[in-house]
Amino acid sequence: MSNISQATAVSIREAVDKHSLHGHFADLEQQREAAKLGMWVFLATEVMFFGGMITGYVAYRDAYPAAFQAGSVHMLFVAGTLNTALLITASLFVALAVHAAREGRRKALIGCLAISMFLGVCFLGVKGYEYYQHYLDHKVPTRSFQWDGPDPRHAEMFFVLYFFLTGFHALHMVIGISILGFIIYFAYKGRYTPEYHNPVENAALYWHFVDIVWIFLYPMLYLVGHTHV
């Protein structure tokens, strides 16, 4: 370590709000790396959390391909595709928000996050509309579930999986939107600097992860019914 680097470290430490550095970390860099690693480890947990349901999906789809295909016909393809586009765009703005945070452009940071939040809310709106349509269509797997085609039991299983998977995903969306709300609040308060914006990065990682889950759910649920396998 040279004197310059120590001087730099000291100057950075002085520059930031004293709340940014927690006592048990040696410096901001260590704290930042720890926070980021923690988030990635958490995402690994999340992958496995969805993994249980995805395994169920794979096992049942393999066993009852026809029923799953017939169930997928009732998906609203346009709504699902629109939602995919919405989430990808939201992800873009979250990525741009991190970019803005790194460069210390507060207004851009807040603006990008606000757009992402808005797109996320739109996603949930579309999702809610779909749920409502399935409800009208008697496709919610409760006693009111109705099925005309063959093999109603396993077609219902498709809808059980559909509601579990998209429901858990929507729950993650709600959490993600709330987190973005907090980030916007703290960004407005001027909490983040080019040196310290771990929460922005971690919120973004979480948001991208939720996006990735949807990227897989989209073909699993919406794209099975178009062709006859």
Binding site: A66, P150, D151, P152, R153, H154
Partner: protein
């Protein structure tokens, strides 16, 4: 005073006992070796006798040796156990077929001659017996310790177990998978009879006619025969000679018409419709019990008994291109 070794009453139990003795011998030797080493070290290297430790930090050859030797021994355990397991999983042909239906908390056994028993199973000695088992409610497990065999009895799916008893007597039948309040009361007995007594026992029962006959009666009552006619004119496939053969499905794949397929087709007809037929069959889920389903299967199976001539069939032949039959 108290038993230390269970009675051995089937061809499998001798094999399992041999493996057990081998396992005890090998692991017992190694465990004893470790314990003796530990005791010797305690005695020789205790601080009062050996005040200064000598730093021995490792020995790659030694570690490799005991790792590879362990692995080698483990592979013997694996292969021996696997050998027995595969034998247990493959029932010999021409076994005596018996059906088991388990429910909370009793065992119902159904012989092909129509004899039915509750919490009891009479079998002949020195004869292969094959059990086709299903549960009406939760998971149970069929265990006869004296035979050293066990298999879970699942709801919604048939499982199989086979044994060949080689010692007459009465043995314990336990439910081994926890199944609710009276799990420990779900007991039965397996009575192994010599040939003469078994013949006597068999002739004593069966006033209902054979199990297949029960199934035939049900086949008529439920109206199955209206569509599944014994000629080529039925709206459903002719079932003569279908059992155990591959059938072509509408999806182009083929499937073996075994117990599992027939059961699935009775309860959930839409899932795998035979090629050339419309999915018009109603589901019998909730209408037929597991016992009745088994009797229908027994009946359809009896239809497969080849008479001399080729059976009439209105099913499309399975083309070679259909490839390997789909597995259930």
């Amino acid at each position: 005073m108290f038993p230390l070794w269970p009675i051995s009453a089937s061809t499998m139990s001798g094999q399992v006992d041999a493996l057990y003795i081998f396992l005890i011998a090998v692991t017992g030797t190694v465990t004893a070796l470790i314990c003796i080493l530990v005791l010797v070290f305690i005695f020789r290297y205790r601080h009062s006798k050996h005040p200064v430790a000598e730093q021995v930090t490792g020995s790659i050859p030694l570690e490799l040796t005991w790792s590879l030797v362990s692995l080698g021994i483990f592979m013997i355990f694996f292969l021996w156990g696997a050998n027995i397991y595969v034998a247990e999983a493959t029932p010999p042909k021409d076994s005596l077929q018996i059906y088991i239906v388990a429910k909370q908390w009793m065992w119902k056994t159904q012989h092909e001659n129509g004899e039915r028993e509750i919490n009891a199973l009479h079998v002949p000695v020195n004869r292969d017996v094959r059990l086709t088992m299903i549960s009406q409610d939760v998971i149970h497990s069929f265990w006869v310790p004296e035979f050293r065999i066990k298999a879970d009895v699942l709801p919604g799916r048939y499982t199989t177990l086979w044994f060949r008893a080689n010692r007459t007597g009465t043995y314990h039948l336990f439910c081994a998978e926890y199944c609710g309040t009276l799990h420990s009361g779900m007991l039965g007995k397996v009575v192994v009879l010599d040939d003469a007594k078994y013949q006597q026992w068999v002739s004593g029962g069966g006033e209902m006619g054979s199990f297949a006959a029960t199934g035939q009666k049900l086949f008529q009552q439920l109206g199955c025969a209206n569509c599944h006619r014994f000629d080529t004119q039925g709206r459903g496939p002719n079932l003569v000679g279908v059992y155990g053969k591959p059938v072509l499905l509408g999806s182009g794949r083929s499937v073996i018409a075994d117990d599992a397929y027939i059961r699935q087709h009775i309860l959930n007809p839409g899932s795998k419709v035979v090629a050339g037929f419309k999915p018009i069959m109603p589901s019998f889920q909730g209408i037929v019990t597991e016992d009745q389903t088994l009797s229908l299967i027994a009946y359809i199976k009896s239809l497969a008994t080849p008479e001399q001539r080729e059976p009439v069939s209105n099913r499309p032949p399975v083309p070679k291109s259909a490839g390997a039959p789909e597995v259930q």
